[in-house]
Symmetry: C2
Subunit: 199 residues, 2 copies
Amino acid sequence: MKILIIGANGTIGKKLTPQLAKQHEIITAGRNSGEVRVDISSEESIKEMFQQVKNIDACICIAASGPLDNFSTLTEKQLLEDFKGKLFGQMNLVLIGQEYLNNNGCFTLTSGVFADIPYKGVTGGAIISGGLHSFVLSASIELPRGLRINVVSPSMVEDSVADFGYLFPGLKAVSMKELVDAYEKTINENITGQILRVY
Amino acid sequence: MKILIIGANGTIGKKLTPQLAKQHEIITAGRNSGEVRVDISSEESIKEMFQQVKNIDACICIAASGPLDNFSTLTEKQLLEDFKGKLFGQMNLVLIGQEYLNNNGCFTLTSGVFADIPYKGVTGGAIISGGLHSFVLSASIELPRGLRINVVSPSMVEDSVADFGYLFPGLKAVSMKELVDAYEKTINENITGQILRVY
């Protein structure tokens, strides 16, 4: 399969990309690195990417991270700003990409544990992930030409504990292997409309 | 308790309001009817409402309905438009209202079944409801002064079947009594961070 990985150079991408490359043809994409440059917060940039990269069987997005926020001063304006990349960016990949992927291709998006388990300071991130889950359920019954869609919902990964662990006391980190396995499952198994909770 | 009901004149509100009025002091609010006029898609209008109506113990929102959409032509612009009332409007009620409700007061929002069970043509509504669920989980651990928050997630109600039933073949309608009971539960029981699925 020909797989486009957006965010191939990030914490998860660095481990996932070489693993998938053992069996598949990989095209890496990212804002500041990768064979193709894309800013997923821009519909135009997403369109240009799909026009440039042809005959894709799978599109995996592990690009955007969730925001931190202060609930007592949180506003609609800040939420809209925070939604751009990880929520609208990933939804736009699907809404735009549905015209470009090969028949029976698949999308794999990335949400996060805060959809289900709240922590202080990540309300925006929680809404993004909860919204993505319901989007994926809907998209799975709407997508044309046998296209599949799934979303991986990771907890903090072990490779991020040193940098972010102090923000989420008590949150159990998951192994990179477990997480990479989940992304691989969305590629190799004929599943759709699944939320793969890795925590 | 002094309860502000936004959308008191809607399908659900018409049944809920007299039921709650048996035991509580009710203030009705709505865009085109009610003792107080409010457009929940406007932050300014929400602020004016809370400044006008003092000493509220509970704020129930059953105001906004979900959109219908066509997945193959759906865009970020349309989603943003659809999110205004039911998603951002209800979140703004909480983000702004957290300063105004009495100590130990409570918010009750309204989502919908499509967060969990997809139907064609309601992707925007699904994202709104899924996002609201995760927002309520987060808000429940963030709100100050003992404030509580819950969300009622109804399926289609029996009183709407004649108008909307044809859009959702096979979707089981819920009785108004069951639904009214769920809203009452959020007022009368000391629960928070709950998603009350009524379907």
